[in-house]
Amino acid sequence: MAEPVLSVVGAVREYGERVKTRALDGADLTVERGELVALVGPSGSGKSTLLNLVGLLDRPTAGRIVLGGVDTAGLDDRGLTALRARMLGFVFQFHHLLPAFTALENVMLPEWGDRGYASKELRERSEALLRDVGLASRVHYRTNDLSGGQQQRVAIARALVRRPALVLADEPTGNLDTASSKEVFDLMRRFNVESGTTFLVVTHDGRIADQCDRVVELVDGRVTSDRRRA
């Protein structure tokens, strides 16, 4: 059996010095390659905290995060940055595109920032991705000149440009109208099916969750249910 792309084992995350707040309380999660997994739960259940740990933007107080077979506990900041750049793509609720850059430059950023230079191949690959997400005519637009849905599509292209093993999407449709939400989710599903990209999507939207392969529910920092779509 193939190795899972992500294993979270007994992840605990506490905040505060004197008064400890436990945002995650021994969460376990395994994501296989090619899955599209929805992570749901009420506000304050620890979804974003778990996503930050999986995204190597934060470290667990206890437990293990194994990404692509690499136990991240032994990695320093540089090692985490390198693994993040190699393995992960991010889509945020507020797209978090850089307003000073064009759509194309935003898509190129992850590889460009990692390698230090932009190759012709990277430019072509980025342009192709923007075409794939339906933004062929907006390649050189500043991101502030795009609609919310278009900005989120640029964010998806940015997340995919390095062909990551796992894309982490934090409320990717949370800020969009119904039509744009559907467009964005359909795009993720398309990349999931066509290129086998694995997605872990945090969402409050039941309609989005219902269309995913698996729905993992988090309550009070623990995984309380993990159901597969029939």
């Binding site: 930050n52 933007l57 540089r78 945020f92 978090h96 850089l98 230079y117």
Partner: protein, 406 residues
């Protein structure tokens, strides 16, 4: 283009108003440095030029005569004595052609000239004035003090009984070009000469007392046939004069004096000016650094979410650090280019405004290429250094916190 440069330049372009404001501040700071340095440099060069317009850089002379005690005190003998100072007489340097040839071989010496110099009186009718008679070999002497260039009436001619004299001396005696003068030297020799030209070197003592004639004529006036009382030198670097003088003093045993030794007060003044210049440059540099640092700190705070995104998508903290160091360096570099141009324009305008009656600038300025290179380097380095704290702050931003707070 490398990632760090692209991002830094894009941020500069994107925050156009902020960039222009800090560039203006850096430009003004650098222009003050360029303007003051040009002005102080020009004034110093002018002062040195005026001082050296009437004196050689180094002069070799016969040591002063001193009376020697015949009995020296020792362990067994106590000596009571009163040694009187000797009267000084005009003497020639022993084998001065050899001494001059030796001095000419000294590194940094551009020209050497033997002179006979002594005191006397110039008489014209009832007018009588004390003078310093200087006998020269024009071909050599003019390479050291260019009196021909400073001769503004008549011509520089010291051959065949002709002399050139200082303009103030001419005024005191009421003589002009072509007039005759009677000379009496301290040796009691009297002669009549013709004034061929009048010069002004800008040094009151020289303009009031100098009478320049040929070396041979002066040798006969002071009964020093074939002799020379001093050997004068011109150096490539005027501020090397004291070191050259020391070496020649040790080697020849003669009394060797540099212009620096004779003008201690001027040197103290120049040094004080230089110190003020450094202090001004330091404080302007600090102001520029604070300006750049404050703008960059604001920029880091404003861009924290973006920096978090860059870090999240795989940009190393080292590259983020470099982005802000380049940011500061570019502000310093571009600001210094504008500032250098502005400073040079101000200096030239200032030089053009204030002129003396002869049309010469009252405040001459010096704008060597090295000044612009130094100002540019200084501002660029200050820009990079000022960016260190904001850049480190940016590089240390926690991506998750930066994104969350954004």
């Amino acid at each position: 283009m490398p990632f760090e440069w692209f991002v830094a330049l894009r941020y500069l372009r994107d925050a156009r108003g902020q960039t222009l404001l800090i560039l203006a501040a850096v430009s003004v700071g650098v222009s003050i440095i360029v303007f003051l340095t040009a002005l102080i440099g020009g004034l110093q060069a002018s002062l040195v030029d005026k001082t050296l317009g009437s004196q050689p850089h180094v002069t070799l002379q016969v040591p002063r005569e001193a009376a020697r005690a015949l009995v020296a005190p020792s362990g067994q003998v106590a000596v009571a004595r009163d040694v009187q100072a000797s009267a000084q007489r005009l003497r020639s340097i022993d084998q001065w052609p050899v001494v001059m040839a030796d001095a000419e071989r000294e590194p940094g010496v551009l020209a050497a000239s033997a002179t006979v110099s002594g005191a006397g009186f110039a008489i014209r009718g009832d007018a009588k004035a004390p003078i310093v008679v200087t006998g020269i070999d024009p071909a050599r002497f003019l390479a050291i003090i260019d009196l021909a260039k400073r001769t503004h009436a008549g011509r520089f001619d010291v051959a065949g009984g002709n002399v050139v004299i200082g303009s103030v001396l001419a005024f005191d005696l009421g003589v002009g070009v072509g007039d005759k003068l009677r000379l009496t030297t301290t040796e009691g020799v009297t002669d009549t000469v013709t004034v061929a030209g009048l010069f002004t070197v800008g040094n009151r003592a020289a303009d009031q007392t100098w009478l320049v004639t040929s070396l041979r004529h002066a040798q006969s006036l002071y009964a020093l046939p074939g002799g020379a009382t001093s050997v004068d030198l011109k150096l490539a670097d005027v501020f090397e004069a004291e070191r050259v003088a020391t070496r020649l003093r040790e080697r020849t045993g003669l009394a060797v004096e540099s212009w620096m030794g004779k003008n201690q007060e001027l040197l103290v003044g120049l040094s004080a000016q230089r110190s003020s210049q450094w202090i001004i440059q330091f404080f302007v540099g600090v102001a520029v650094a604070l300006g750049i640092a404050s703008v960059l700190i604001v920029s880091v705070v404003q861009k924290a979410p973006e920096i978090g995104i860059l870090r999240a998508v795989g940009t190393s903290s080292r590259r983020v650090l470099d982005v802000f160091l380049i940011h500061g360096g570019v502000l310093g570099l571009v600001g210094s280019l504008f500032g250098s141009a502005l400073g040079a324009l101000l200096a030239k305008a200032f030089e053009g405004i204030a002129r003396d009656p002869s049309g010469a600038p009252r405040f001459p300025v010096e704008l060597p290429a090295s000044l612009f290179v130094q100002a540019t380097l200084l501002a660029t380095v200050v820009g990079v250094l000022a960016a260190v704290i904001p850049a480190r702050r940016a590089a240390r931003l926690d991506p998750a916190t930066a994104i969350r707070n954004g």
